[in-house]
Symmetry: C2
Subunit: 306 residues, 2 copies
């Protein structure tokens, strides 16, 4: 067995300002104009994952065994270092700084989608050891895959079926109903919404969406990302206040690269607090037993004054 990866915390953090050489080759960065008021030289940096699950240099290939399918690790696995500050978080950062992270996600997707072998993107942010994070420094991961993963295939198929049936985007209808009923609403403005989804899988699961229909995250404008950054910042503040900075996962769901059907799918962000370990029922069977009704969670978050 290879030795396990060593978790690096605190002073030796490779993502901290001044350790840029350790973090690895800079793929993209937002450099501050000189002189910066807060003294930092960058706001966000994107580097390759040090232990990448996938590499663009790999060859995907074809399975050679009919029973045991094995394919090359083609793809990209990048880390977005979201702040020079080790102790920053989405709830303490300014929304304009959080915007820079969303900007980096989008810019990397726009670059990577030019590689025609890559078919879909996953962005995941794990915060806290209970969410599988090995580093405390605020960061997210971008994975580009040479296939469309099953969960996204299924989500797209459901959306397509609903659209075929009703003629409208099911997500747009959900947004309209959640704003109308208000019982699962956390907050909203003219452009964005945060709400506890019907059939939330875990306590305080919260979705953040743009109210304007759009299938792909990488087609969002600077302005649209600004509104999302504001909503995310507000939502994470409420969650941190209500639950005491819970470990959590943030997942970006966005349409596959070059998806022709632009009408049925609606990109969104899912915030999954990781308050308790998942039972085997959820691990395997996707059966979630959630003791907190989304209506109760939403009311609690609405009342979490900032």
């Amino acid at each position: 067995m290879s030795p396990p990866a060593v978790a690096i915390r605190g002073g030796a953090c490779p993502f901290c300002e001044g350790h840029e050489a350790i973090a690895g080759r800079e793929i993209l960065a937002w450099h501050a104009p000189e002189p910066r008021v807060d003294g930092h030289s960058w706001r966000v940096r994107v580097v390759p994952n040090r232990l990448p699950a996938l590499r663009v240099e790999s060859h995907y290939g074809e399975p050679t065994d009919s029973l045991f399918h094995s394919l090359g690790g083609l793809g990209a696995h990048e880390v977005i270092i979201e702040s020079p500050d080790h102790y920053a978080s989405w709830s303490t950062m300014k929304a304009s700084d959080l915007w820079t992270t969303l900007w980096a996600w989008r810019e990397r997707m726009r670059d990577l989608r030019r590689d025609i072998r890559l078919k879909s993107f996953l962005v995941v942010k794990n915060v806290g050891a209970a969410a599988g994070a090995t580093l405390d420094h605020p960061h997210s991961q971008l994975v580009a895959l040479p296939f469309v993963p099953q969960h996204l295939e299924e989500e797209m198929a459901s959306a397509r079926a609903a659209h075929l049936n009703t003629g409208v985007c099911a997500y747009c209808t959900v947004i309209e109903r959640e704003i109308g009923a208000s019982t699962r609403l956390v907050s909203s403005d003219a452009q964005t919404i945060a709400f506890a989804p019907f059939a939330a899988r875990v306590p305080f699961e919260t979705w953040v969406m743009s109210r304007t229909h759009g299938a792909a995250f990488d087609e969002q404008t600077d302005e649209a990302l600004g509104a999302i950054a504001e909503r995310l910042s507000d939502t994470m503040r409420r969650l941190d206040l209500a639950l005491g900075t819970p470990p959590h996962t943030v997942l970006l769901h966005t349409a596959p690269v070059g998806e022709a059907d632009r009408a049925s799918y609606h990109w969104h962000l899912e915030i999954i607090p990781r308050l308790v370990a998942e039972s085997g029922l959820a691990w395997d069977g996707g059966i979630h037993i959630n003791p907190v009704a989304p209506e109760d969670a939403a009311r609690y978050l609405r009342d979490s004054r900032l």
Copy 2:
């Protein structure tokens, strides 16, 4: 919000011998003949879950909202108390005592399958807080569902497609190949096998199977369960020795009730060590990054002498 369920540990454990009245109505038990050599009056007891996710008294109904589907919590949610001894575990119990647990699973399924509204069974055993367990006392949970869950539908569909293609059970072929190659084999005898599955999702994932084809667990004979109990006992001893009694989940996969296709599916047990928290990639997308090759894990378990 309702108050969270209180985890009860140690002296106040409701599953310990002498606390039968607290544990709840006895649905099934293996009572020892008098006088018992080890002094216990029972070996296994089945009781209703105190906070059941599903009840046979519920009405399933039909969804009334086209967007937000809500159905009654029809089903059964039972707890199998696997030993009167709070500190027992599958690796310290005698295999004959572990057999009694498998017997209880089977007997409860045989009883519940007479309720024609119930379509499938899940059995899950969570050990340790990191696996979502709230009680330390050795126990497992049986869930009977009024539908076939998606993971089982998909597993059955794959098995059906492979069978159609080759004329043989894909699981039987896997067993044959794993025994032939030996690289992922943990242990085996004439009736059973334990091995690290190809594309294991987490380090040290281990499957235990009967080498005799069979779709449903509840059709297994006493003797077949005896052989499985021996294999499970040996496997858990190896895992506990190799990994230091790791938190883990055990999942039983068995064909839906009354499944007509008996040829393509093969019931099995999956042991999932819960050594690290799952990243958001696994949580949502079913994408598992496993740093330990199953061949390495199997070699390590083979060499874990008992």
